[in-house]
Symmetry: D2
């Protein structure tokens, strides 16, 4: 039984980690770390866990936690883990970081987009980017796992096969993404109030959203390591969960729909959690809600020689906690889908 | 042209006052009072007013304001106006208070339910409770108007004719009310976040909500001045605007549906803003959205000798700003419906 | 492995049965019965099941189905099963009926409230009302299970201990219930369109809703078999899932909060799926979403000598498919919670 | 007083026409035309009009209507007006068509994208495309007005100045649009049910949506009459009203943000209903809800040499009924904004 500690257990991603791990046969949460709710019952913070979780919240002492658990999940603000993680901690415990601190290899890029100094750049190199479908083998052996962002998981998986196969010119990619509001976190801010989000839709972080360089770096690897520059525009949607990506790119060569489909199947046919939809079916976030699936599909536009790529996932599951558990499974040699065989909930 | 000042112009009720007064031919806002946004453009706080309101927010100096305007609307937290209002201010300006400070005649009752000390009890007596359909004549001459609460307006208007006519026993009344989230205000609190309210419904303030004594006092007046005790239970609904009241009471005498309908018509047939729906039609909040209407109807239960009374209004309009403007019209001798001929918006 | 057939697999309750049974280790769906989608892939009707369910929809031939499966779930319109069920079918297969056809023992009452003739009244007597927490032993041995309604499950469980213990006068009960829109089914009707339901709340079926006699009958059994008459008012809420019941009744004797709590605990302390919340905590539908839990609590009103009883459940799970699976488990001697250990999903 | 007839008065756009015209001082509805609700009270179809509209629905006899009114609004399915409109009717009455029948000059293009035969192609030439801000002068003198589509109004107004001024290459335009559900109409269809739309987002009509050629034709006029080919992708959002457009295009020349802003101001500075937002402010649909405003803004991406153009409007107002009334005002010589000085409603 894997002993688990969570730092940031009382945010939305933390809460979802608890939901998934409570249903996981091979893991056991030993430490519900929190800054704001120390000594309060965890089930008083999230009452869905009433009579399911009896533990109280503990503090977020990572050194002590490292002595007591096998793996630490950090669902914390950007910069937090970067400021406290050490080689010594990593020598005792595996770390799965849901923040962005170790996702980007180039420190300068991280510091520019995040506007903060990276306090432990020496640890970045060993971190493995935890997009399971692409980095599976490296994930199995790492002790420091950088769990991908929600938008990035959806964006990369939607475009990856076409970049990898040279079907599209990656420097023409435009990602127009739509996200439910849980992605904004549980912080008490006016723009996230019900009455501000409901009956409303808006773009935000236009041309400056921090997931941009993360998408670019990963698609760059798929593009033979050459740099990739894209446009990424996130939008806030009045719903709790779900991300939909609609991405556009110019075709780099003449292809048929069958050839494009073959490219998706080449990479995803054996992937349980990536579903390439049937011809003509557009992904909908509702069809993956509560599950670890990503649904993808595409359509070729002969009028403009472009392709429209589409992807949908649940931002709290495959976009955060679910993928983190999938990574844990890989890192500990468990069946990759263990605890994640969740059927999407509809309606 | 009536010169208007608003204290608390940047809350939801304040914003709605601005929306209504911008469309009012006889009033002009001279002072957008705020605590948090002084010197900021009002249209930067509520961007719906971009290119419509050019003014900046001013402070909330009521004494200065009293020199410059004809009427002050206060859309402020409970206790605020009670702490600053004076005879001198009232000698210079009319005041329409959207808070509860002068609604309840008995200071002890106010202090018990609100848990705060009333700092100007000597002013309570002269305040007129601004439920236009019931207190119209008194409203016309007052200088201190206590604008009714949102739940109370809907609850009282749904039950008033049947209490007044002795058709129901008012001490058996149970009001089960459902409100949209704008009633919770624009404060940044976790329970009002989108993800907490959406896809959720709950009761709150059970048996302790502050609108209870206000409903009881007003229905008491209708009950020949005898005390009335009721149950009032509010619920939070995932929508922006609207209150629906479903109220239950035992019949005090044998009546037919026609007699009950006649009672409603006796009080409301001439009332523009109270619509007694046709037989069998249940009020829906959507049918009054954005307007100053209250829709009411009823159904007699012969099995239990009770009547079900129903009412719907827009909590920000007839439940707050709209009724305040209606009161202003009465207090200044304008046509009562001026600026309020708003057709409900659907969908 | 229990072989399962579903008639009405393509409605919302049918879809939820599929979701739950796909995660159930002891059952296997052999027949996805449908009227409208025969020969279409089930996953084309509900795309959440893409790559999870490969079967096609079959017709709704109950006789043929009875030869091939161990249990038939019927998630069909009222009157449908009553018109086709026979002793012969019941001799071959167990039937769990999610419609109301066998819930009410008195045929005249059924026919009056449902407005249809009952075609197989001779089968009613043997049917067991499947409220697991109350009828567990009878459920274990029946072959015809009347699965309770969504509103009724929530209403009865909220009030049952207090009726049973003589704490309240059941003839004073008023149930004010609020339901998400999935309860209205997947039929294409204007009142269920997004724009009609969203940003709206209304009562419907006032004093005539069909769940009324079902609640009355069951509470009558708890009331020493004496008849009970209540008021039941359902409301439509802009959310997908969830029912909240707020019920009111007069106290039949002087009790303390501790005594009332003891009554709830007497019946529910050992019940996994009924959670008696802590003092002062009101049930919220969001805290049970996607799970088989019912959360209940209460508050005594000394001012009016009444008690407010509250309950919340997911109408598609504990209010329909989840309770049906719980009943199946009981009827087949499986652990009662098998396949139902679903942690509620938040947000 | 302009006498108005409406064909299709009981759809959502028809309902909004009624709302706006009831508040219009210079127009009077004489004919509420309907196919489904003949002889029923209009206020029984849309109960927001209870005690506001007393008329009953009449049939949709356009010839008779042409004798009795000054202007006919048609809010009807595609192809309907095309099949019944004649020169004779146009000789008696002005027609404002909210369908697409006369928007596209090239019949073949219309027939290809709409998949129906155009029955009155001889009338297309005289029709004026009613985008007031661009075609104002022509609108004033036409008797056949093709009212623009909701997506098209938002898309064109967002990009028009930059195309007209040669700042962007119009053949690189990608329009990613998000719409509330009222745009789908009031037809009873499963995909528009509350539970299907709520908590969900999806693209639809990918690369085949009928508003594509309409946008292309109008932007072609701005592009010196040269053909323009774009990508247009609509998405369905869980909200009632509002369209948000996020459009992308390559810059055709080196420009500063100030120069781009100057281009917007050149065309919109004097336009009441187009608000060019301040630098850095992204349009939100909520800020225009219920009003005739379009909010636009842009951001230059130096990394990719592209510009992101954004626009928001209320699809039922500026995207349909509001623009139709604005056109009516122009066609009858009334002040253009009469009856349209609606302050957006928030929240």
């Amino acid at each position: 039984m894997i002993k688990v500690g969570i730092i940031g257990a009382t945010g939305y991603a933390g809460g979802e980690l608890v939901r998934l791990l409570m249903q996981h046969p091979g893991a056991e949460i030993k430490w519900y770390g929190s800054r704001s709710y120390v000594d309060q019952k965890y089930a008083d913070v999230y009452r869905n866990f009433f009579e399911i979780v009896e533990d109280k919240c503990l503090d977020d002492n990572i050194e002590k936690m490292a002595e007591e658990v096998d793996v630490i999940f950090t669902a914390t603000p950007q910069g937090y883990l970067g400021g406290i993680l050490t080689e010594e901690i990593l020598s005792k415990v595996k770390v799965i970081d849901l923040s962005a601190d170790y996702r980007i290899k180039d420190v300068a890029t991280y510091e520019k987009w995040y506007g903060i100094e990276h306090k432990s750049p020496q640890l970045i190199e060993q971190a493995v980017y935890g997009l399971c479908e692409i980095n599976r083998e490296k994930i199995k052996t790492t002790r420091l796992l950088a769990n991908p962002g929600c938008y990035t998981t959806c964006s990369i998986l939607s475009a990856y096969p076409l970049v990898k196969e040279g079907i599209i010119d990656p420097n023409t990619i435009i990602v127009d993404a739509k996200s439910g509001t849980s992605g904004a976190g549980r912080g008490a801010k006016v723009p996230n109030l019900y009455c501000e989000v409901n009956e409303n839709v808006k773009a935000y972080g236009v041309l400056s959203h921090r997931h941009t360089p993360e998408i670019e770096e990963q698609l760059g690897y798929a593009h033979d390591g050459k740099p990739v520059t894209i446009i990424f525009t996130p939008h806030l949607i009045p719903m709790n969960r779900g991300i939909l990506v609609t991405a556009y790119a110019s075709l780099a060569k003449k292809v048929t729909a069958d050839e494009v489909r073959a490219a998706y199947n080449k990479y995803y046919a054996g992937e349980k959690f990536v579903r390439v939809l049937e011809d003509g079916v557009c992904p909908e976030t509702k069809w993956v809600e509560g599950s670890n699936y990503v649904d993808v599909n595409f359509k070729i536009d002969e009028r403009t020689n472009r392709v429209v790529m589409m992807g949908a996932l649940d931002n709290v599951v495959k976009g955060a906690a679910g993928q983190a558990v999938q990574n844990m499974n890989l890192m500990f040699g468990l069946p990759e889908a263990q605890g994640l065989e969740l059927v999407p909930m509809f309606p």
